[in-house]
Amino acid sequence: MYLYPRWIRGWHMINALIFIVLIVTGISMQYTDKDSTFHMVGFAMAVRWHNFAAIVLTINYICFVAGNLYTKNGRHYKINRETFVSDLMTQTKFYAFGMFKGEKHPFPVTLKSKFNPLQKFTYVLAMYVAVPLLIISGIGLFFPEITIDRFVGISGLILTDVLHITMGFFLSIFMIIHIYTCTLGSTPTSLFTGMITGYHKSDDHH
């Protein structure tokens, strides 16, 4: 079935590339050292690319939110509060045990619901909590003069930075898990192919 329209594939591709740039340059800045060879990119170049990628990410994010508001894609992110916990448990059990016993996917992919409950939950957390916090704290670091000087006795810049690197870290972890779970389709590469062509094979687990 045709699940991923062109704009989502475009947005997703840009997001993926930008995420890689941001992670590499972000780690390079955070763990920079003059004597060590640990940093992957030099500090000055890391700053330049991180800033550039951050602007692209922000614009891309605005497009994503707008796309979800003005197309039907937004409905995939709506969580059913009543069955939320039990659905989450069912899906987790499937990934932990069921799939090894050859059980059927508890929430098969349909045009009306392309995400399973665990996906919904993590995607909402990532896209509507972590990314906005990452962008807001990033703007605070990009323009340090607008960041509050002190908050309950602690420098506003430290708090902003700790928030930024924490969100950056959790989103990096999200990305690792996201990429791994994408190998859980009917074949390890089928879901990746789906994200390029837009077509999802109906017997996929993911």
Binding site: M29, T32, D33, K34, F43, A44, N51, F100, S155
Partner: protein, 328 residues
Amino acid sequence: MKFLKFRLFLFIAFYSFSTLLSAANVMFSNDSIVAADTAKFIPPYAEDNERCFKCHGQSKYEYTNESLGRQVKAMMFSERILKRDEFYKSNHKNFSCTDCHSAEYVNFPHVGTLRMEPKLNCIDCHGGDENFAQYHFEEIEEDYKQSIHFKLEEEGFSCWKCHDPHSYKISVRNMTNTKETVAYDNAICLNCHSDFSRFQLLTEKAELNILEKHEWLPNQKSHFASVRCIECHTKINNNIPVAHQIRTKEEAVKRCNECHSQNSILMASLYKFSAREERRDGFVNGIILNESYVIGANRNKYLNIFSLIIFAGVVAGVGVHVFFRLKK
């Protein structure tokens, strides 16, 4: 017991009475108010110095010229005007003007040859003095002689080009507010490097635009407000309080990592005197955090450990999952 109570009563009565008396004294006597204000500094040579400040403390001067037989009133040359307040806040506030300048200055008009009097440099008073031995003025002098200022302008340059003895005060050693110290110290450099009329007194070079020259520096405004010019433009010397070997522009620090790293050079320069507080709440170079935040220099060891544990957990989780998938 009764005796003890009586003694207690006497003590309280005496204490209350004396407190009341001193309070009344402060309230009704102006002298006491002045005496109580111990923060007010009374310079020992204020009266003597006032004879100089009378003319040199303002933009116009006035005196009776005996050979002309009349009162002379004229504008004071701006370079010869000193600010009283700044002088009495400076490190040399306890000095009499004539400690350094000729006593002949008491005559008006001042004798022309006095202009030729040799000016004292820091080392002339501070060198070889045990009281100042800990500051290693000799080494400061050595450092200065290696600096680009001395090399290019041996004749024109002197300590006073940067440190006006009439207003100089210790800044970084008494640092309580980093931003104020940075502003004070940078003003010394900008005094010439952003004022072409002064700059051209010492060089034939064309006018420089500091902001343009530093365009490569990200968040330039924050950098200029948070660190001193000398952080990047001097060679660190751990033996003296503040490095004095100003380097050529080619030798200036341009690698971000010099400051943005765990072993940041800022800890040996700007934060040298406050660096004793090594770590705070797990943050490396914690002292910087009092007023600033330096990416790369202020990482947190607890967050590092925590993130490594989570990362290892995720990798292990994925590994186990892959294992069971392959087994199936």
